[in-house]
Symmetry: C2
Subunit: 148 residues, 2 copies
């Protein structure tokens, strides 16, 4: 099946484990910064998606963030509860729910500026190094998603 000597692999050498730890490290890094804005990391991702392109429906957000409605619906309800987005059934297709930023949601973009900048300072990589790593990681993601 594979020529990889799985017998000799140690936990530390696994890519999946490295990604697992990196993901959680990112989460912990962002938590206090985003907590000051009253956001969780997935909520921040949704807002980033809407800052780039407002008025998306649940399916579009799910495609972008690789999430299903079972995760997004309660999350979006919490964002709505916090007054950051509005949820409305689309007029032309009542199955879809349009998610739109409120004025307050748009305003939060300014406050979140240095949240993202903070990570750059911390990891201390050049834009090029960062871009290469992002490309590599995304490449793995693509291969894994395709290979299922």
């Amino acid at each position: 099946m594979s020529d990889a000597p799985a017998d000799q692999l140690h936990l530390d050498e696994f890519l999946c484990f490295a990604l697992y730890k990196a993901h959680h490290a990112m989460n912990r890094f962002y938590k206090p910064l985003l907590g000051a804005l009253g956001l969780t990391y997935p909520q921040y991702l949704v807002l980033m998606a809407l800052w780039e392109q407002d008025n998306q429906n649940v399916g579009q957000l799910g495609e972008l963030l690789h999430l299903e409605s079972n995760t997004l619906t309660p999350l979006l309800k919490r964002l709505e509860q916090a007054g950051l987005v509005q949820r409305r059934r689309a007029a032309n297709d009542e199955r879809q729910v349009q998610v739109t930023l409120t004025e307050q949601g748009r305003a939060l973009r300014q406050k979140s500026r240095d949240v993202s900048a903070c990570l750059f300072d911390t990891i201390g990589m050049t834009r090029d190094e960062l871009g290469a790593l992002v490309a590599d990681v995304n490449g793995v993601t693509g291969a894994v998603v395709a290979g299922r």
Copy 2:
């Protein structure tokens, strides 16, 4: 604070987002494979840690996997319920809980052999490329953990 032009950054360019997606892609990839063994991914990580070094206490496992007792305790109880590990208070220090593999837990190692090999085949990278990527990702994790 940073010379990174955060204003112009798109969601796709964020390393944290790349790691977020990669982590979830791994999870989804492993889920059916591990589900056949009755395991979740974090449970698999715990077993891998014990396969390398049996009889660790909760704190040691937490250090290795970057998890706290609030996550590990219920997880370990489920593994115990499944008959894969045993939990015992340490004789010399009753505060600590020693986690040991059962015969069934050791046996599962054989069945999980091709789970890890399967990922190698799917992502199609050489050992060297993989090692370099793991090192890069771990480097970011280290910087982020240190920079908190």
